[in-house]
Amino acid sequence: MFQHDRLNNEITLFQKIKNLDYILLISVILLSVVSVFVMYSTDGGEILFHTKNHFVKLAVFFPLMIFVSFFNIKFWHNFSYIIYFIVILLLIWVSFFGIKSSGSQRWMDVYFFVLQPSELMKIAIIMCLAKYYHRLKIENVNSLTSITIVLSVILIPTIFVVSQPDLGTSILIALSGLIILWLGGVKIKYFIYSFITFLISLPFIISFLKPYQKLRILTFLDPDRDPLGAGYQIIQSKIAIGSGGLDGKGFLKGTQSYLDFLPEKHTDFIFTLFSEEFGFIGSVTLLILYSIIIFRIIRIGSISRSNFARLFCFGYAFAIFIYIVVNLSMVLGLLPIVGSPLPIMSYGGSSMLATMIGFGIVLSAKINHKQMIA
């Protein structure tokens, strides 16, 4: 601690606390409280396994967020590459020794907690690329070398995660990386060209997908082709949300959820339950809460003096946005089903850990927004 204190000896602990972003903090706390209540509802109105664990995780990770924020942003800058490589190592470790569950190998047991390194990679890749573009001369942004390096940085973890297999997380990792490319100033036409190339090669990519992934896409295009099988989740989710109406069925009264029609209600489909019980008004309120969080992160980025902090905040804000969009689009039947949690709301330790660390770094950027990084 002393050593760290020396690193940012300009600011005292008291000042740090004072400089925390309270709008962001309050929003996160509000979201956490909502998430505990919703988890309580998924347990059928009782404090059972999920509610307890979710609460414990919040109680551990929220202080962790504050703890992370007390490290100078410079510290996170310095350790960005190392963190990225550690997470890569974890991904490699998982691909050999990870815990297998329902056909995929994504987890590692760290005694008190089952860790999913791919979730951590969502943050690590933003840190790594933010540092890279922070240090890169603007003239070299569009050079072949830099783009090759950056694309490798994105591709390596993505490939590991895809091979777990975990399509949802790998897409989120890739998108988180690409946004930094975008923010860093890579020419727009490159994005356009590669998007066109992607579209052209899409049928080719699909042919490489696993049968269940293909089925998901087919199901997305027409959920009624197999209403009791592959289409079941999306049909039941739409029924739950649609039946919620303007003001919802009321807390603990979501029939789709407590009668078990809703699959995965603790994790990916948590929004469905929320929306069924609190309706359109509740859903929009939740979206506003998320928007405030995103807006605050962007705001912190834009007052930061260092481009590292700026890139990280903008990148992380986009990442949060993308998590929400992918999750909501999925439960609303706008995208095929890819496993992707809703930040804070969904049950899942690694996702929450990564999200909280992200918030912590953002808060660190806030506290040290005047900090220049060479």
């Binding site: 573009y133 001369k137 603007i138 003239e139 946004i179 975008w182 923010l183 860093g184 100033g185 039941q236 739409k238 029924i239 739950a240 949300i241 649609g242 039946s243 919620g244 109406g245 303007l246 029939t255 789709q256 009668l259 078990d260 029609f261 929306s275 309706g279 359109f280 859903s283 929009v284 979206l287 928007s291 995103i294 962007i298 980025g301 834009s302 481009n307 700026r310 890139l311 903008f314 986009f318 946005f321 969009v325 909501l328 689009s329 609303l332 706008l334």
Partner: protein, 640 residues
């Protein structure tokens, strides 16, 4: 400086790029909100319905059948609480142990146990298995005593059909039982309301009036989870009991009929001669319809099926008998109407009549001497009626007989088992047997033998229409929406203005050409019962309140050989199957007639000995109940 310039330029790029992304984010969020709006606000109704369809499941309960009551409102087909035993497999801890316990407590057969095991494997664990449909009270108490040891067992009270008068109404009502597949498919209403365990009418009025009696299902709505398990009950929608049906029958008289025909095969019908109401309609022997409710045992079924007196046949409607001498009033009337004879016309009876070398015997070997119509009817002289029939001819006789209801269904719309009988004529024989009519056949038709066949109810109706002065009536067994009172019916007949309640038209229901002829026949029937030497003189009642007029009949079931005629055997000496059927038709009270009846005792011997005494006993009761019946004017209207 360059470096910091570069840093500032980079910041500009980042901010610009951020702005573009920011704008994109707003658009995407608006898109998501639009989607939420369309699902939750625009299509809310659709998804609410889908959600309810998911969670709400309906269970139909068997409908409660309507009661059938007699004329006085006594329930003759009702509903009774029964005790059933259900098992809910998911609540059972040790299924085999439970079955062993139940087997001992209820004496279940091995077959039944195997069936329960089969049901268990077919049904969902929370669906109940019916172990016993009808527990006796003592069994029910026993189960309740051991309930602590029988986890997963549920004693249930439910409703079942019940026939409180057991065998008294069997042939009229029929019975209910489990429907077979065809019966469900054939009837749209049964198809809609069918639930396992439901029973439908299999015979008689229960079958014919199924759609009125059936009632509507009670519906229980439950909230179920994704696996179909009931979570909680939402509402209970009461079903409507089926329509109540009121019959014209009188239980007391019906019961008396049963007692009078005890251990005999036969039939009694009693009819109101003005309204056509059937007061009693009993076929003997009968059987207990309650046996069929929960599936009749093989032993009991064989007992009923193999009974030589044939309880399964409704003799009143589908038993076909030669009317014997009971046809004589119609022969006489037809001859009078056609002016073939008059009251002074006389025939000399020598005990037999020769025609083309064939001998036709009178029942009285010594002969009756010179007889007029009145005496011939009184003593039932066969020779007289041979001669009258010969003069009349069978074709003219048939016209009169048909007018009075022979050869036609009486209650055809209610009972599909009813037979129409047969009244032959020359044309009929030519068409059906391909042979020409022989005069000898006319002679035996004149005494109600030969091809002629009638049901007991036809004979009753025939008698009723003679008794009421020769007016057509429409017999009925159900008190319908247009009941006509006895007085109204009588008055309208006597005034000659006949009002048909069904078609609202004035109809000519006169069955005669000259009212005098009816009177002559009535008087002849009176003398047959109330004057000395009359065939049913011994069964007369002198009290004018009960005094009745009638005609006996003895229907041969086989040709009597010359030898047998010489032997003149006593009834007991003849094998049961060869004994004559005893018949009697009557109406009374003679002064102001109200009711007609017909009695048939299969293989009972002569009508005067076996059938007429029954009428004597029955008439007292019928007339005594007349006042009561008249008071029962609060017609309950139902539409059939």
């Amino acid at each position: 400086m360059i470096k910091s310039n570069s840093g500032i330029r980079k910041t500009d790029v980042i901010n610009r790029r951020m702005f573009i992304i920011g704008a994109a984010k707003v658009v995407v969020f608006v898109g998501i909100i639009a989607r939420l709006f369309s699902l939750q606000i625009n299509e809310n109704k659709k998804y609410l319905t889908l959600s309810d369809k998911n969670r709400i499941r309906e269970w139909k309960l068997p409908p409660t059948r309507g009661n059938i009551v007699d004329y006085f409102g006594n329930v003759i087909a009702g509903n009774l609480k029964v005790y059933q035993l259900h098992i809910i497999p998911e609540q059972v801890e040790n299924f085999n142990y439970l079955l062993v316990r139940l087997k001992n407590l209820l004496n279940l057969s091995d077959k039944r146990i195997a069936r329960i095991n089969k049901l268990k494997s077919e049904l969902k664990p929370w669906d109940s298995i019916i172990v016993s449909e009808n527990l006796s009270w003592s069994q029910f108490v026993k189960i309740n005593n051991y309930l602590y040891d029988l986890v997963g067992v549920k004693p249930v009270m439910t409703i079942s059909r019940n026939y409180p008068f057991s065998d008294v109404y069997t042939h009229v009502l029929g019975y209910v039982s489990q429907p077979n597949e065809q019966e469900i498919l054939d009837n749209q209403i049964i198809q809609e309301r069918f639930v396992p365990g439901m029973k439908i009418g299999k015979l008689g009025l229960e079958k014919r009036l199924e759609n009125y009696l059936i009632g509507t299902n009670a519906i229980q709505r439950y909230e179920v989870n994704a696996y179909g398990k009931r979570i909680n009950q939402l509402e209970h929608q009461k079903g409507q009991q089926g329509s109540k049906i009121r019959l014209t029958l009188d239980t007391e008289i019906q019961k008396a009929c049963g007692n009078l025909l005890n251990e005999k095969a036969g039939s009694i019908s009693v009819m109101d001669i003005y309204t056509g109401d059937i007061i009693a309609m009993y076929s003997s022997p009968s059987y207990d319809p309650n046996l069929f409710l929960f599936g009749i045992s093989q032993d009991e079924w064989q007992l009923i099926r193999n009974n030589p007196l044939k309880p399964l046949i409704n003799k009143t409607l589908s038993g076909l008998y030669s009317p014997g001498s009971t046809i004589k009033p119609i022969v006489a009337l037809s001859a009078l109407e056609n002016k073939v004879i008059d009251t002074k016309f006389k025939v000399k009876c020598t005990g037999k009549m020769e025609l083309y070398g064939q001998t036709f015997h009178c029942w009285k070997e010594k002969g009756h001497g010179w007889v007029s119509l009145k005496n011939a009817m009184k003593q039932s002289c066969d020779t007289y009626f041979y001669e009258v029939a010969r003069l009349l001819g069978v074709d003219r006789l048939k016209i009169t007989a048909e007018k009075f209801g022979l050869g036609k269904k009486v209650l055809g719309e209610y009972f599909d088992i009813e037979k129409k009988g047969l009244f032959p004529n020359t044309k009929w024989k030519k068409n059906n047997l391909g042979k020409g009519w022989v005069l000898g056949e006319t002679l035996i038709t004149g005494i109600g033998q030969g091809y002629i066949q009638s049901t007991p109810l036809q004979l009753c109706m025939m008698t009723a229409q003679i008794a009421n002065g020769g007016y057509a009536i429409k017999p009925k067994i159900i008190v319908d929406s247009n009941p006509i009172s006895y007085e109204d019916a009588k008055q309208s007949m006597e005034s000659g203005l006949l009002f048909d309640t069904n078609s609202n038209f004035l109809l000519d229901k006169k069955l005669f050409k000259d009212k005098k002829n009816i009177k002559i026949v009535q008087e002849a029937m009176f003398s047959s019962t109330n004057e000395i030497f009359g065939t049913s003189y011994k069964s007369r009642i002198d009290d004018p309140k009960y005094q009745f007029a009638g005609k006996t009949g003895t229907a041969q079931v086989k040709r009597i050989s010359k030898r047998e005629r010489e032997l003149d055997l006593e009834l007991e000496q003849i094998p049961y199957k060869d004994r004559d059927h005893a018949l009697y038709v009557a109406y009374g009270p003679y002064i102001d007639p109200r009711y007609a009846l017909s009695i048939i005792v299969e293989h009972g011997g002569s009508g005067s000995k076996a059938a007429a005494p029954i009428a004597k006993k029955l008439f007292k009761l019928i007339i005594d109940r007349h006042e009561l019946r008249n008071k029962q004017s609060n017609f309950e209207r139902i539409t059939i």
